[in-house]
Each structure stands twice: as structure tokens, then as C-alpha cells.
Amino acid sequence: MRKSIEWMVGGQQGEGIDSTGELFARTLVKHGYSVSTYKQFMSRIKGGHSNFKLKATKDRNYYAGDDVEILLCLDKESLSKNEDKLVENAVVIMEGKETGVERPEGKNYQILSVPLKKIATDLGNPLYKNMIAIGISSALLDLPQDILGEIIGDIFSRKGEDVVKANIEAVQKGYEITQEFLPEQIAKLEATENDDLLFISGNEATGFGSLMAGCRYLSAYPITPASEVMEWLAQELPAVGGTVMQVEDEIAGIAFAIGANYSGTRAMTSTSGPGLSLKTEALGMAGMAEVPIVIVNSQRGGPSTGLPTKHEQSDLQHMIYSTHGEIPRIVLYPSTIEDAFYLAAESFNLAEIYQCPVILALDLGLSMNKMTIPSFDSKRVGIDRGKLLTEDQVGEYDEAFFKRYRVTDDGISPRPKPGMKQGIHLTSSNEHGEDGYINEETDVRNKMMRKRLEKIKDAMIQEPYKLQSNGDIDPKNADVLLVGMGSTYGAIEEAMTKLNAEGKETFAHLHLQQLYPLPINELKDLFGNRKIITIENNYTGQLRLLLQQYLPIHDQIESIVQYDGDPFMVRSIVEQMKEVV
């Protein structure tokens, strides 16, 4: 029995690396494993090395893993680029003249050479070579062939029976080769009985959570790694009376969505760093005019066009501070794909309750990779439209011109929709009085600034952070606290487990989900005076800087950073931790 399997397929972009990886991942999910995936790709359509990595385990996992046990090489670079990840006795599957196994001198892995292209061509299409390789991979795990057959049926039935048959034959070929050449390598992985597993990406979960929150309109401009939110909702919204619009640029993206929110529809825009840069003036307008808006910002490598298809977490300050002047806003950052669903839903509630922009941060790692997660629970988050008035409620005010910016105890003004007979009102980006008319008198200005900036003070999501440790360590008392955000969740969890196993000091892990406003009081208690280490994908340690700004922890906090465009490896976190602690 295996405890887990770490698998990778590499090849030239455009060769079906992604679909091969996805197919194998789905096979494993169907078999009841918990699967985490990570794709590496470049900002071009064809050519260049790309790969798809996955880890499958019996129990829940959140991280695609450091190592590779089975490496499927569809190009030469796949081996040289990933050799350092291969574990003892790893199997490398490669194109070769004849089928055979060899162990290269001085190496810890074995190579199974197979004339993939030739066999595939004989079956009718050179692309079937990926299927032979998947057959080999599946056979190595002793997976029943019928599961793969089912999935192939699902995917290729549109293309006709012949294609399905040829694909299945290719898979069978893979099984035969494995049984003949690598019989001693075949080992089962114990499966869970869980049957309510979903296999979903962060972008899809974000779109899904938004849909469930009642979002009916998205306007955006395509950008990696956020486009999928738009594409997914474009498929789903029409069925529920909503729509997606790809508009002329990011400024229009946010402006359309602000217009739709102003009219009473739950609306959002999605983007990545460069797009958020363009949206910031309108972000300020939403803050000033107190119009709700949800902005999904899936971060990629910056600055400027930077690393457009790589992972980074460097827009933190941008999301928290961007736009001129001072506005109310809320910045959230789900820790996992599952959280992306619930936090997306909460974002719409907070945007309407507090009548302000909510930025939902993702990062490429969270956005584009898929994971197995349990089914969603519709009871966990409801729909709360805040002080949005009905026609009858507007009537009760009995005003010829509705005071849109009425000063109330909690700073939040009741909001009519345009179109209500007694709700005629003015929304304004200029400083204004309660009636919305431009007003620059100092006491009005002071009152309105206070109203806007105070109202979000107590805004809080259900789970602003996740604190945990493992074994019998009480996370509140652990010696060292590892602090992260977003897609580093799984790697930090695993690193913590390793560090705790070494037993010198005890470690706990805190993953922040609400970056602004920060839950300062709660964090103060948690931090105490123990050592704190932020683990983040940016150069300057933006998360550390944020915490230092609000909490008296200057001397007890340090950062481990990585800004090369790749996600953290557990190994590197553990090594660096030893240096820091």
C-alpha cells in the first residue's frame, strides 16, 4: 500500500499537458482520493515547457507536494527541469525506440522507455500517446481500468465511438506495458469511502460562491489568472437571469459593475494586478459614493506585466491602500478553494451591508489549480442585502427627495433603488451632504468622512483567520506562530507538521482571511509575545508590514519570502525556518 502518490506530467505547451494532468487527476478523484494540483505554464500558447503536478492521498490534503514519484515526460526538458524532485526509485516514463527499463548510472530513478508515438499512431492518432502514459500511471497504482474507461467515455463520447474505443485501447496498452516491465512497482493507494467530493478550482469556486450569493452580473476584461471567473459565470448566469459582459477595458469593467450595483443588482468585476491598477479611481468612487461592489483580484507576478502566468502575493498593499484619498473597504483572502466559495458569498453580503467595495483576493495558485473538497453547505452563508429598501419602506420616509446619505448611528444609510416612486435620490462621487448635493463645508466634510470611514470598523467575516496546530499542541501556546495567506495554506500546514515532528519547539499556523479591517484585538491575544514568522510570496514582506503597522510586535516578527514566481515548497519553508528560529 502507498500512503500517497506524487505525479507529474511535463511537455511542450499545446501538447495536451493540462488535459492529460486533469484526466489523471479526475481518475484519482473518482477513485476516492484527495487530490491537489499545480500547473506551471508560460505566457504563450504553443511551445515552452509546462507541467502539471498532483498529489493524491487517502486523507484530505491541500498541497500538490514537493516530490515526484511518477514523472511523465512528453518532452526532453521535462526530465532535466524536474530531476531534482524525483524520489528514490521514481519511475520516469519517456519516449524511446523500444519498450524497456533502465536505471541511468548514478541516478536514483528508473526510466521506462516506450515508443509512445508509434503505438499511438498505430492506434490512429499520435495524441493517444498521453493516454498510453496515463494507462501506465494508473496501472502503477493498481487502479481499476473501468474508472478510466468511464471518464474517457464522458469526455470523448461527443467525438464518436471510434475515438472512445481508441483511447481505451491506448490505456489498455499502458496497463500491459506496466504489467510486463514494472510489475514490482505496482502498489495500491488506499482510497477513502468519501463520495461527496468535488474537484474544483479556486476561480470556479469563487464564481460559484458569487452565483449562490445572488450575483447576477459580472463585467470584466480578460486577464490571467482571473479570466476563468468570468468564463465560468458566463456559462452559468444566463440560466438564472443574469449575464456576463466582457467590456472594453478594466475601467469599464468596474464602472459597469458599479452601475449595476447602484441599480440594485448584485454585481462584480474580476481582474488581476494590472487590471486592479486601472480600476483604482473607480474603486475610490464606489467608496465615496457608498455603492457596493465586489472586486475579485487574482494576483500574479508583478510589477507591471511582470510574470503574467506565475504565482505571487504582492498586491496586498495595493488592495488595502490603493486609490487616492481615504475610503472604506474590506479586503478578504480565502485560505483554500473551499473558503473561496464561502468568502465570495460573504463578500456580497458585506458589500451591501457596509455599502462599500469588497476586494476578494486570490492568487494564481489558488485560482488556477484544482483540489478535492467536500460538498458545499448552503446553510453556512445566507444572503443579506443590508439596508436596501423596498418600495414600501421608502414610502415610510415620505420625502420628496430621498436623503441618500442620511447620517445614522452605525454610519450606514438606508439605500433606495433608482426607479422607486418616493425614492428619488442622488449618488455622488463629490463630497456631499445628506441629500447627495455637492457640499464642501468643513463640518459636513468631517461628518461624512467619519461616517464613511467608521462604518466598516466592526466588519468581520465568520472566520477571519484559521488557527491550528497538530498533535496535542495547543496552537494558542505554541512557541512559534507561522502566519500566511491564500494558497500557501497547504504548504505551511505540512511544514508545521514536519517542524513539530522534530520536537525542539512547538509550532502553530495562522492563516489570515480578513486583511482589512484587520481583526486587531483577536490577533493581539493570539500573538502574545511569542515568535511570529510570516511566510509570503513577495519581496518586501507585505503581510509582516501590515501586521507591524497595527500591532505592537515589531521585534518578534520576521518573514520568509519567495518571489521567483513559484509556490513555496515544504522543504524550503522547513529549511528557512531553521535559520530564522
Partner: protein, 282 residues
């Protein structure tokens, strides 16, 4: 039915004699004469002297940011197709910073009106060159005369597919409110450019200048090409409805039955969750 008085908003800060007064009155008159109620409209404006129009007309208003009234207005209409939506602002707002949005709105054909107060100058920032300032025009920002040629807004919207294009003049309020009535009732994107003299900063494009130079077009041209040819022949100095075409607006083309408004507080839709979740199940 609304009266002109019902539509009176905040006290204006425009200079006496500013053309924008007439544009505003034209919009109000059109609403009154068409028999609408003020609450049925949303007037979305940008920034500039012209941008204040959403504050001065008592209807639902949204005074947005410079150059973005058109995308915001389109979003408003998408969110609530029952509203009558008007975007309005200046030539700097619409043809400078907002030009891209204007072109795309022309080809998109969402059902709304875009009314531009064209004074060939930046008023609120005190008299710099606008994208509508003529070649050779002298301003503070082009002291030795403007080296560039002006944007041509009406041929731009015509070539980019707008289904209603007209030009008015602040000095002829009767013609103007007739144009505006037709524009508001037009189904699709209607663009009305209005010569609206800035009496403080523009000493060239004055009321007298327009009185002398404008030619009235009595009926819309049959084709876009004819309209463009005539506009060119008169160097843009024409008034009237220049082009009109009946074509499905964006929402009709989408063919979706929109329901973006009826959401109420309460639990998530369990049936929807179950249906969509199926797509991710193993």
C-alpha cells in the same frame, strides 16, 4: 405628470449665459413633454461643469468620475432595464478621457441616451484645450495654438454603429428638446452632441459663431455614408437628427430574460446549489 418645477434640483453654479443651462432645460422639457415621472430616470454624469447636470435635475442621479459616465450608465441599464438611462457630460469628459467608452457604447447599442455638452474647451479646469478645440485654437495649454485636429464625435458614433446620432445647439432650445425627445424614445444607444458655448473661456465658439455657421438638417440621412458626407461638407456645423436606424438593442440581442433585481435576503437557493454542484462531483 411631472412639471419643469418637479425636475428642479440643486442651485446651479454655472456662469450666467453658459450653454449648459439650455441643455439641462432641454432634457427637463423632453421628460415633461414625453409624460415621464422623474423617478423613472437615472441621469449619470461625469466630471466638468457639464457633469453637474445630475445634481441640477431632480431625478435619480449619479455624479460619477471623469470620463466614466457612459460605462456606469450602461451598467445601470443592464442592472435595471426598466429605468430610462441618460448619461451626460462634457466634450472633455466624453471625447477625451472617455473616448474609448464612447466608441464601444456606440457599437454595443445598449438602450440609453448619451448627451454631450460640447463647448470645445475644458470649462471646469479653467480653459485648457479640449479634444474638440479646433486646429489653431489658442488656450492656456496650447499658447501658440492647437497643433492637433479635433475629434469628430458625430461621425465617430455613426461609423461605429450608433443607431441614433444627432447634433443640437444650446441656442435653439425648441429644436434641441425635439431632438432630445426623439433620442430618449429611441430604442438603442442614442448620441446627441450639443454645441453649448462656454461664455467664460471660449471666445471663438460663441453663440454668434454658431448662429452664423450652423446649417439645419431637416430629416435624417438614409445611409451612414450620406450622413458622414454631409457632416464633412459642413465641417461638422450641422444640427438635427443625422442618422437613425431601428436595430435590436443589446439586451434584446442577448435574448435573456433578466432578473437581476428581485433578490431578497434569506437562505441560498438549495436547488441551484445542488444543480450546479453536480458539475464538480466526481
Amino acid at each position: 405628470m411631472a412639471t419643469m418645477k418637479d425636475l428642479r434640483g440643486d442651485v446651479s453654479t454655472w456662469c450666467p449665459g453658459c450653454g449648459h443651462f439650455s441643455v439641462m432645460a432641454g432634457i427637463q422639457k423632453a421628460i415633461v413633454e414625453l409624460g415621464y415621472e422623474p423617478h423613472e430616470f437615472a441621469i449619470i454624469s461625469g466630471i466638468g461643469c457639464s457633469g453637474k447636470v445630475s445634481e441640477y435635475i431632480r431625478s435619480n442621479g449619479f455624479h460619477t468620475i471623469h470620463g466614466r459616465s457612459v460605462p456606469v450608465a450602461q451598467g445601470v441599464k443592464m442592472g435595471n432595464p426598466d429605468l430610462k438611462v441618460i448619461a451626460s457630460g462634457g466634450d472633455g469628459d466624453g471625447y477625451g478621457i472617455g473616448l474609448g467608452h464612447f466608441v464601444h457604447a456606440s457599437r454595443r447599442n445598449i438602450d440609453m441616451s448619451y448627451i454631450v455638452m460640447d463647448n470645445n474647451i475644458y470649462g471646469l479646469t479653467k480653459g485648457q484645450t479640449s479634444p474638440r478645440s479646433s486646429h489653431g485654437f489658442e488656450t492656456k495649454s496650447a499658447a501658440q495654438s492647437n497643433k492637433e485636429y479635433p475629434v469628430d464625435p458625430i461621425t465617430t458614433s455613426i461609423v461605429n454603429g450608433a443607431t441614433f446620432v444627432a447634433q443640437g445647439y444650446a441656442g435653439n432650445i425648441k429644436e434641441l428638446s425635439n431632438i432630445l425627445k426623439r433620442a430618449i424614445e429611441h430604442r438603442g444607444f442614442s448620441h446627441v452632441n450639443i454645441y453649448s458655448p462656454c461664455v467664460t473661456f471660449n471666445k471663438v465658439n460663441t453663440y454668434d459663431f454658431y448662429k452664423e455657421n450652423l446649417t439645419t438638417i431637416e430629416a435624417p440621412f438614409e445611409t451612414r455614408d450620406e450622413a458622414i458626407a454631409s457632416i464633412r461638407e459642413h465641417e461638422g456645423l450641422v444640427t438635427g437628427i443625422l442618422y437613425e436606424e431601428s436595430r435590436d438593442d443589446f439586451q434584446t440581442k442577448l435574448g435573456t430574460d433578466f432578473d437581476m433585481q428581485s433578490l431578497e435576503s434569506g437562505p441560498m437557493d438549495e436547488a441551484l446549489l445542488k444543480r450546479v454542484q453536480k458539475k464538480f462531483e466526481s
